[in-house]
Subunit: 195 residues, 2 copies
């Protein structure tokens, strides 16, 4: 998605060879028209898949998930993160390890909002090691729902998450797939090379 790639190049900050900061339009300050364009792009890619629900993770997944839900005409559910869960009645839960923060959080989704009849589009802002996506997939599986695929705003294609998930036969749609952050520069994979 050229508009997003241009925004990453103009406004993203490369902090190291593995860290890209996009706080100015996605993770802290949100650019609403860009989120709308992202929602339209995901909706267009998944419009034939009979999606009934979008599942994401708080907080940075909420804006793109909601805009995609708006265009597709389906609700967006955000899993909640907690250090540890005491009340797990009536909740699907999974553990997600963050390598960047070196901590493990439980994530949870109420059983009220994910049913076995659902066709789910899992979404997240970033895909790096794939831990958050795996946690969300675990929850989809617990619900017995059907997974249509995963929509990722920015993939760090040089990290192992994307490969891991694609090898399982999961469809991943990535709007900007970064091949390298070396020397402070952002490089992208060509769209054709990802698929």
């Amino acid at each position: 998605m050229k508009k997003l790639q241009d925004k990453i190049i103009s406004d993203g900050k490369v902090l190291s060879e593995s860290v890209l900061k996009v706080d100015s339009f996605l993770n802290h300050q949100i650019d609403p028209p860009l989120m709308q364009a992202i929602g339209e792009e995901f909706a267009s890619r998944f419009k034939e898949d009979g999606i009934t629900k979008i599942l994401t993770l708080e907080s940075s997944g909420i804006a793109p998930a909601m805009m995609t839900g708006l265009v597709l005409g389906v609700p967006a559910v955000f899993a909640r993160k907690r250090k540890s869960l005491t009340l797990v009645d009536h909740m699907y839960t999974a553990s997600v390890h963050s390598f960047t923060k070196n901590e493990t959080n439980d994530i949870s989704v109420s059983k009220d909002f994910l049913k076995k009849e659902d066709v789910v589009l899992v979404m997240d802002d970033f895909l790096a090691n794939g831990q958050a996506a795996l946690g969300l997939l675990d929850i989809v599986e617990q619900a017995g729902a059907k997974l249509a695929g995963i929509g990722i705003v920015i993939e760090k294609g040089f990290q192992p998450g994307g490969k891991l998930l694609r090898e399982r036969g999961i469809r991943i749609e990535t709007l900007a797939n970064i091949s390298s952050l070396e020397n402070g520069n952002v490089s992208f994979y060509e769209e054709a090379k990802i698929q």
Copy 2:
């Protein structure tokens, strides 16, 4: 806002005389068309105020804040919550006590995204005791920015936050102001009585 009040009556769950759960459309599962209507309503109420930025708090404030920003044509910034902040360089921070959870969190906003030239609309999903709003106002003040007002999706008008803030001369626009949750029923104040 009648559409929102109807949704609260049909889908909200009264858990006690002070707790209303709206997880099915606002706090966990999000109803995108309702968020769009909420965004349009807030934008209409604040369209003459020269808003340059919306400031909210993760996670449940993000959806209504982004939709309002989309209609007003301005970015939405969400303050981040953390148990305690170690890295506070280049951040505005404030403490927010939650009476329901009986815990105090620090909230923070990067100095990059809030400037003294900004005219800020503070938004949140709920207003009860007013602690979150006070934390956000503290951050607006630290930035030296101008506060246009506060936009609240659901106010629990029988709790003290709204009175406290209005007595300071702050403009609050509330879309649904609850007068009582007694006997498992939701009652609303008339719009005219709030102002």
